[in-house]
C-alpha cells in the first residue's frame, strides 16, 4: 500500500465577513501524525474541516487556497467532493455511529463505492474492525445495534468505518475528548498503530496527548499558524514566545 501525504498552500477560511483561518500553509507527511493545538476558537477545527471539504456544507463559508493530495488540488471547484471524501476519512469529537448494526456501519461506505459482493464486504468489515482493535470485542455481535457499544467502542467503530473506505488520510477532531481515560489510552494506541499506513491529522486540546501521539505539531493562534515543528522541539524548545506561553499554561 502506497502512502500519501497532503500539502496545504495559503489556505484561508471565512464565515461571511469573519475570517477564521488566515493564509495557513502546512505540509503533512505520509505515515506521520500531525497534531494541531491551540486555544479554543483559534481556527484549528475549521482548518481541519476544510481538508475534506466539510465546510462546503456550511452556507456562507468560503475556503480559498490549495490543498494538494496525489498531484490534485482538492480545493478546486472541479473536484468531485464525493470521491475526494473517500480518500480522506474523518472522526469527530462525539462518536456518531449510524443507528444501524455494527456490520452495517462499516459496510455503509464500501457499499456505496461499488463493493456489493457479500464475501468482500465481510472481509472489509473484519479487516477494518481488526485495524481499529475492535474485532475481538464485537465479532460475536456484528449484527447488533452499534448504539449498544460503549462510548470508546463507538469511537473505535467510527475509526473503523472511515478505514473501511481505504482513505489516504484520516482527520481526527478531538477524537478522545469525550472519552474516559482508559478509552482514551486505547484510541491513542490505535493512532500509533494506524500511523504505519496513513497520514493522520489530529486536533487536540490535550497537550499531553499531542506530545504522546504526534510526530509534528502545529500551534494555531487567531487563525494563523504560529509555529510548526517536530513535536519534541515544540514542547521542549519552542522558538516563539506565544507557543511557550501556551504550552506552559500561561493562557488558553
Amino acid at each position: 500500500m502506497q502512502a500519501f501525504g497532503m500539502t496545504v498552500n495559503d489556505l484561508s477560511v471565512a464565515y461571511g465577513d469573519r475570517t477564521a483561518v488566515k493564509n495557513v500553509s502546512l505540509d503533512f507527511a505520509p505515515k506521520q501524525v500531525t497534531a494541531l493545538i491551540g486555544p479554543s476558537g483559534c481556527g484549528k477545527s475549521t482548518f481541519l474541516r476544510s481538508l475534506n471539504r466539510m465546510n462546503d456544507l456550511i452556507a456562507g463559508c468560503t475556503v480559498t487556497g490549495e490543498i494538494w493530495i496525489r498531484d490534485q488540488n482538492i480545493n478546486s471547484p472541479e473536484t468531485d467532493v464525493v470521491s475526494l471524501r473517500q480518500r480522506i476519512g474523518m472522526v469527530w469529537q462525539r462518536p456518531n455511529p449510524f443507528h444501524k448494526s455494527i456490520y452495517e456501519n462499516i459496510a455503509f461506505g464500501p457499499r456505496y463505492h461499488g463493493t456489493k459482493n457479500k464475501k468482500q464486504l465481510d472481509e472489509i468489515v473484519e479487516e477494518s474492525l481488526r485495524k481499529a482493535a475492535l474485532w475481538d470485542e464485537t465479532k460475536d455481535r456484528l449484527h447488533n445495534s452499534a448504539l449498544a457499544l460503549s462510548g470508546g467502542q463507538q469511537q473505535r467503530l467510527c475509526i473503523a468505518r472511515s478505514i473501511a473506505v481505504k482513505p489516504d488520510i484520516i482527520l481526527m477532531d478531538e477524537p478522545a475528548s469525550a472519552l474516559d481515560p482508559v478509552s482514551t489510552a486505547k484510541i491513542e494506541e490505535l493512532i500509533a498503530e494506524l500511523k504505519q499506513d496513513y497520514c493522520i491529522v489530529i486536533v487536540t486540546h490535550n497537550m499531553h496527548q499531542a506530545a504522546r501521539v504526534s510526530d509534528k505539531t502545529a500551534f494555531f493562534l487567531s487563525g494563523e499558524v504560529v509555529e510548526y515543528d517536530l513535536t519534541p522541539t515544540i514542547f521542549t524548545n519552542p522558538q516563539r514566545r506565544e507557543t511557550n506561553d501556551y504550552i506552559t499554561g500561561r493562557f488558553g
Binding site: M54, L57, R85, I88, W92, R94, N96, F98, Y112, S162
Partner: protein, 300 residues
C-alpha cells in the same frame, strides 16, 4: 438577625406554593373528570344498543345492511367502518410521501426559504376550517372525478383526497421537527464517507427518523378518522360498501352527523349511532396508544 427575617419571608411563600398547588390540582381534576364523564356517557349509550336493544355485537361489526328504523331493524355498521378505514388509510398513503418530501426539502435542501416561508404556509393549512375543505372538494374534486371516471364523482377517492390535504400539515410538521432534531454528526459522518446527499437522506436520515415519521402518520390517520364534515360533503353517504373508489360510500362520522338529528333519544336507532361513536372513540384510543408505543421505541 437573619433568622427571624427568613421565617417572615417563608410564610408568604408557603401560601403561594399552596395556592399554586391547589389551583393546578383543580385544573387537572377538572380535565380528568371531563374525560371520564365523556367516556362514561358514550360507553353507556353505545353499550345499551347491545344490552337494552339486544343487538348482537358481531352483527353490528360485520353486518352489511344499515336500517335501524326498518322492519326488521338491521344494524350492520361494516360499511361505515370500512368507509372510515379506507378513507383515512388512503389519505395517509397520499399525504405521507408528500409530507415527508416537503419536510426533506424544507430542512435539507432549502433550509432558509423552507423555514421562513414554506413552513408557515403549511401550518396555515391546519387553520383552515374543515367546511372550507369540504366545499372546495365538492366544487372542484367531485366535478373533476365526475368528468373523468364513471359515477357521480363522490366517494372514497374524493373523500381521501380532501382528507389527505387536511392531514398534510400534521405529517409535515412532525416530519420537519424530526429532521431538524437529527443529530448533526450523523449526516456529517455519512458525507465524510463519500455518500451523496441522496444516499445520506435515503440511508441515514430516513431510517433514523422513521419512528417519528410513523408517529406523524398515525396522528394524521387519527385526525382523518375523526373528521366528519368535510368527508360527509364529498363522500356521497350511501350506506353500503362501494365496489369502486368513485362510488358513493359512508364513514362512521358521516353516518352519525347525518342521522343524529332524525332519531329520538333512547330509541334503538339513536343508541346504534352512539355505538358508532363508541367505535370511533375506541379507535382513537388505539391510535393514541400506537403513537405512545412508537415514541417509546424511538427513544432507544
Amino acid at each position: 438577625m437573619a433568622q427571624p427575617l427568613d421565617r417572615q419571608k417563608a410564610k408568604p411563600h408557603l401560601a403561594e406554593e399552596w395556592v399554586g398547588k391547589i389551583y393546578t390540582l383543580f385544573c387537572i381534576a377538572f380535565l380528568i373528570i371531563t374525560i371520564i364523564s365523556i367516556v362514561y356517557f358514550v360507553a353507556s349509550k353505545g353499550l345499551s344498543t347491545f344490552f337494552k336493544n339486544h343487538v348482537n355485537v358481531l352483527d353490528l361489526l360485520t353486518g352489511l345492511k344499515w336500517a335501524p328504523e326498518g322492519e326488521p331493524a338491521l344494524f350492520g355498521a361494516l360499511p361505515f367502518i370500512f368507509g372510515s378505514f379506507s378513507t383515512s388509510l388512503l389519505a395517509a398513503a397520499i399525504a405521507a410521501p408528500l409530507g415527508f418530501c416537503a419536510a426533506v426539502f424544507m430542512i435539507e435542501i432549502a433550509p432558509k426559504f423552507g423555514r421562513q416561508f414554506l413552513q408557515p404556509v403549511i401550518e396555515l393549512l391546519a387553520g383552515i376550517p374543515s367546511v372550507v375543505y369540504g366545499f372546495v372538494g365538492l366544487s372542484v374534486i367531485v366535478p373533476l372525478f365526475r368528468d373523468i371516471f364513471p359515477g357521480q364523482g363522490v366517494g372514497i377517492a374524493a373523500g381521501s383526497i380532501v382528507l389527505s390535504i387536511m392531514i398534510l400539515p400534521t405529517i409535515t410538521t412532525i416530519a420537519t421537527d424530526a429532521l431538524a432534531a437529527l443529530p448533526k454528526g450523523l449526516k456529517e459522518g455519512s458525507y465524510a464517507l463519500g455518500a451523496t446527499r441522496w444516499q445520506t437522506i435515503y440511508r441515514i436520515v430516513l431510517p433514523t427518523t422513521l419512528p417519528a415519521l410513523m408517529t406523524g402518520i398515525v396522528l394524521g390517520i387519527a385526525r382523518a378518522f375523526g373528521e366528519a364534515l368535510a368527508v360527509q360533503m364529498v363522500i356521497g353517504n350511501a350506506p353500503h360498501i362501494p365496489s369502486s373508489l368513485f362510488e358513493s360510500a359512508s364513514t362512521l362520522t358521516s353516518a352519525i352527523t347525518l342521522s343524529m338529528g332524525n332519531t329520538a333519544m333512547g330509541t334503538a336507532a339513536n343508541n346504534a349511532l352512539w355505538s358508532l361513536g363508541l367505535i370511533l372513540m375506541i379507535m382513537t384510543f388505539i391510535f393514541v396508544f400506537i403513537v405512545r408505543w412508537l415514541e417509546r421505541r424511538s427513544k432507544i
